[in-house]
Amino acid sequence: MNNFAWLEPKSVDEAAEALKQGGIALAGGIDLLTVLKERLVEPQQVVNLKSLPGMRSLEGRNGLRIGALVTLDRIAADEELGRNFAAVAQAAASVGSPQIRNVGTLGGNLCQRPRCWYFRDAEVHCLKKGGAACYAVAGNNEYHAIFGGGPCHIVHPSDVAPALIAFDAEVITNRRRMPLQEFFVLPSENVRAENVLEIGEIVTGVEAGMRPGTFSAYVKMQERPSFDWALSGCAVVLQMNGGRVQDARIVLSGVAPIPWRSREAEAAVKGRAISEVTADDAGQAAVRAAQPMTDNRFKVKLTANAVKIALLKAAGQRV
């Protein structure tokens, strides 16, 4: 990594100003350390957000409010959050390893850079780094996108974001608030970034309203069960009425450059009771428009199954 100055800002404004001057934000540092070591970024200044007061509160009783500096471990372990927003707690618990969850933060999880092995290799000048081509197209794309790809084919690595989006969460920054779904951008809109954050803008937290009568779950498909990124995953929030689905949010992870809402799967369960048949139908519906690449056809079936398992799990059925 390059040499840089270290700043411990006393206020969000001071931090924002430093980011405008070529600084980069540090929270847990799990992702930042790797992008620095690979020289994917060479910032003048590292701005330690942990020196700021606040952004550490966690509330799951009357709605969801999580500060950007709250660790994933706290989100995973919070009882009220686990009761009212189960998918969010389950998604946080599925991230990395205990060591990573003890240090990694909500803000970092939302803003982390993709894991694409071409992007992560400093020697490969891909589209995302200002180059001319997405190397995954002609190369090895087994971990890449089956939805929303092109011209770059990364998948967004966050587990927590799809679960929050399934609860219609909003993200709050030092400048604005917006639905979390709108925070993320496809490569076709902006190939260099994964979200709409402007220079000097800092995520301070997320919020979501209470959703009485909902059942939720997050399911993550991994190559190595103990510690891995999502090959595919699914967050489900079901609003139930008389044993039938009144409304559903189904959001996929690990399959698209952004958390991928599957309206097809949502429509497939609406008005129906959750059974293995319904869940299977929803899984099939979710992948009907999938566009697998040369090496990731397996993710189509895997994703259908992720939807199926998440629906059954949310509905409290044995899977």
Binding site: R115, W117, Y118, E123, G139, E223, P225, F298, K301, K308
Partner: protein, 700 residues
């Protein structure tokens, strides 16, 4: 002492040998007191760093080190390591600097222009290029298989693939090098061959072998990749000479994974046949694989050291690729050849409709495997296996598989061990071997303690230095059978000297004495005794020193084993969860049963990792390794390790090594278990969700 009279100690009366002995250096490792090469820090020490070519096939056109040279803290630069690179990661230049950070920045500041040539980095991509494929090694025995297909009860024809695997030593390769004058030096090296490195590195640096001391007290894994100090070793020595200061050069994870060896892949197209009574009838196969830039390549297929395979035609083709060169990896060539053979055998058994266990018992060469297969079948509960693979449905399916192995593990001559006993009663044993992680230091101490009748804590065992008596590298599972006999002979020689001194003191002949419980005593009248210290007090003032040489009669080559794996396949996710492994392994006289069990368990873990996760991925377009890290080069984690039951199956009373054999059959047994659970045959390792869903699609 006549060699044929020497025997290992009777387990009925021994205190340590053939028992479970905790490692003498275990507490040091747990507390951090043990110093690895990584831990060595010398006064004034600099840090070395290597510039590696980013291209898979390139020639250096120009190299400009001026910016690096001008950086404060840079003390030495080498710019002539290689003018060509045959893989991405080959060494081009190096620097030594005051800190590791400066060294990295300096490497970054070196400007190299390359003439980049076309590359091939995968066996599949290179096997049709005649310039890249070596002359095939042909094996032709018995009748021509093409005349036999019609006589077979079952014929299969399929393609199989075992990918390139990495050693993944947790301590990377590296060295700390210090010149002690113009032509003398000391090197701390993470190595599995202190004497071998002393010879090789001294030669590379043009000094006398005896003038270079190589030290490796503890090492964090080698698995066959650390016999030499490598390019980084001689580069470090040169940097230290140029800078006039000691230099530490430890590789990082990227370097470790691209440049320090790997176990080659094996791609096979095979046709094979079985008779109705379960006898293997014929095998015809073409195989390809890559060892890196060279064209020599081969794996142990078919596995004729276990099975009777009468009619064979195989052609093995080495493919030259622009990838880091292969090195020995724990039973080189065997896990690949074993997976190919045992999978073919299992497929044929299923097609004929016979129990795969009975088929193996029919085809093995010797009775020992039949006994071991029965022992393993009992251990895993073979009767619980899925009798009709593919007939059961549901999300989670369980099944069992098995496979057999063999290996040498006999010793090599030339090891020399010294034992010193001081007149103060102190005991020291030294031999220039090293502990690859198998527990060498512990049995060196235990052998001496046993024959001198002392607690093991009383024996100071020193290994890991080329200044100690000659011994070979730790490879081929030969270490124990090479080292232990020499230690035993040294201990007996030292004891004989003690007996000579004690005999007149006790009034019995030396031949009637024994050592036990810290005393030297008359064998027929143990109350007629002296304490060990009383005898030592009568030794010459400087004590005594005796040397032991390797003794053939204490060791033997050749082991057999059989493993059984039970898995649970999640058919919705494609995850394979190992449930239980029973590993039956012969090793002759187990010097330390605890270490033997650890070795079996470690081999099984590495074998499961091969079955389920390990896969070096080279990118065809860029020629670069896609997973030179531990994020995407995946290995079995602690939570994936199942119950492992080692069964130490002793067939004789000589010492035989078993570092390698337990890793050989695990992957094959795992794949066979997946088939038994689901009826789906996965012929490409590792068995990941991708392979699972691809196999489902292929079947439907």
């Amino acid at each position: 002492m006549p060699q044929e009279q020497v025997r290992w100690n009777d387990p009925k009366t021994s205190r340590y040998l053939n028992k479970r002995i905790p490692r003498v250096d275990g507490p040091d490792k747990v507390t951090g007191a043990a110093k690895y090469t990584y831990d060595i820090a010398l006064p004034g020490m600099l840090y070395g760093k290597i510039l590696r070519c980013p291209h898979a096939n390139a020639r250096v056109e120009s190299i400009d080190v001026s910016a690096a040279k001008a950086m404060p803290g840079v003390r030495a630069i080498i710019d002539d390591i290689s003018k060509t690179a045959r893989f991405a990661g080959q060494e081009i230049a190096a620097v030594a600097a005051d800190t590791e950070e400066i060294a990295r920045d300096a490497i970054h500041a070196i400007r190299v222009t390359y003439d980049v040539q076309p590359h091939v980095v995968n066996t599949r991509a290179g096997r049709n290029d005649p310039d890249r494929v070596g002359d095939p090694a042909e094996l032709s025995e018995g009748a021509d298989p093409s005349t036999l297909w019609s006589q077979a009860a079952a014929v299969i024809e399929a393609e199989y693939y075992v990918p390139v695997r990495e050693h993944l030593s947790l301590e990377t390769h590296g060295i700390v090098f210090r010149w002690d004058g113009d032509d003398k030096a000391t090197a701390w090296v993470s190595t599995q061959a202190v004497h071998g490195v002393a010879g090789g590195l001294a030669n590379a640096l043009r000094i006398q072998r005896q003038d270079l001391t190589v030290i490796c007290n503890h090492m964090g894994g080698g698995f066959g990749s650390k016999f030499s100090a490598g390019t980084e070793g001689s580069v470090c020595g040169r940097l230290a000479r140029l800078a006039g200061k000691p230099v530490k050069l430890m590789l990082d994870r990227y370097e470790e994974q691209v440049a320090t060896g790997n176990g080659p892949d094996a791609l096979m197209q095979c046709k094979a046949a079985m008779t109705a009574d379960g006898k293997l009838l014929a095998i015809e196969a073409d195989l390809w694989g890559t060892n890196g830039p060279g064209k020599r390549w081969g794996v142990a297929f078919p596995y004729r050291t276990v099975y009777n395979l009468p009619n064979i035609r195989t052609r093995s083709h080495g493919v030259s690729t622009n990838t880091g060169g292969a090195r020995a990896l724990r039973a080189p060539g065997h896990p690949q050849g074993n997976f190919l053979t045992e999978t073919v055998l299992d497929e044929l058994a299923a097609k004929v409709g016979l129990d795969p266990l009975e088929v193996r018992k029919k085809n093995v060469l010797r009775a020992v495997w039949r006994e071991q297969l029965d022992a393993g079948a009992k251990g895993i509960g073979w009767e619980r296996r899925n009798k009709t693979p593919g007939a059961v449905s549901g999300r989670y399916l369980r099944g069992m598989g098995c496979a057999c192995n063999t290996w040498g593990g006999g010793g090599r001559g030339g090891s020399r061990c010294d034992v010193r006993i001081g007149s103060d009663g102190s005991v020291w044993v030294g031999i220039g071997t090293q502990d690859l992680g198998t527990g060498t230091r512990t049995y060196v101490a235990a052998i001496v303690a046993e024959d001198l009748g002392l607690p093991i804590e009383r024996v100071h065992a020193e290994i890991g230095s080329s200044k100690l008596g000659q011994s070979g590298g730790s490879g081929g599972s030969v270490t124990t059978a090479s080292v232990a006999p020499a230690v035993k002979m040294a201990a007996l020689a030292a004891r004989a000297r003690l007996f000579e001194v004690a005999a007149p003191m006790l009034g019995v002949s030396a031949g009637d004495l024994e050592c036990a419980d810290g005393r030297v005593q008359a064998r027929r009248n143990p109350s007629n005794s002296l304490s060990f210290e009383q005898v030592c007090a009568k030794l010459p003032p400087g004590g005594i020193e005796e040397r032991g040489e390797w003794n053939r009669s204490l060791q033997q080559s050749g082991v057999a084993g059989a493993q059984f794996v039970e898995v649970e396949v999640d058919t919705w996710t494609g995850n394979v969860r190992p449930i239980k492994v029973v590993a039956v392994q012969d090793c002759g006289y187990a010097l330390n049963r605890l270490a033997v069990e650890s070795q079996i368990i470690g081999g099984v873990i590495q074998g499961l990792s091969m079955a389920l996760f390990e896969d070096r991925k080279m990118d065809d377009p860029t020629g670069r390794m896609l997973n030179p890290d531990m994020e995407n080069y995946k290995v079995l984690g602690a939570l994936e390790v199942p119950e492992i039951v080692p069964i130490v199956f002793e067939t004789h009373d000589k010492v035989t090594g078993l570092g390698e054999p337990p890793v050989i059959p695990t992957a094959a047994a795992t794949g066979n278990a997946v088939f038994n659970a689901t009826g789906i045959r996965i012929r490409t390792l590792p068995i990941t969700p991708r392979r699972w869903f691809d196999a489902l699609e292929e079947q439907s």
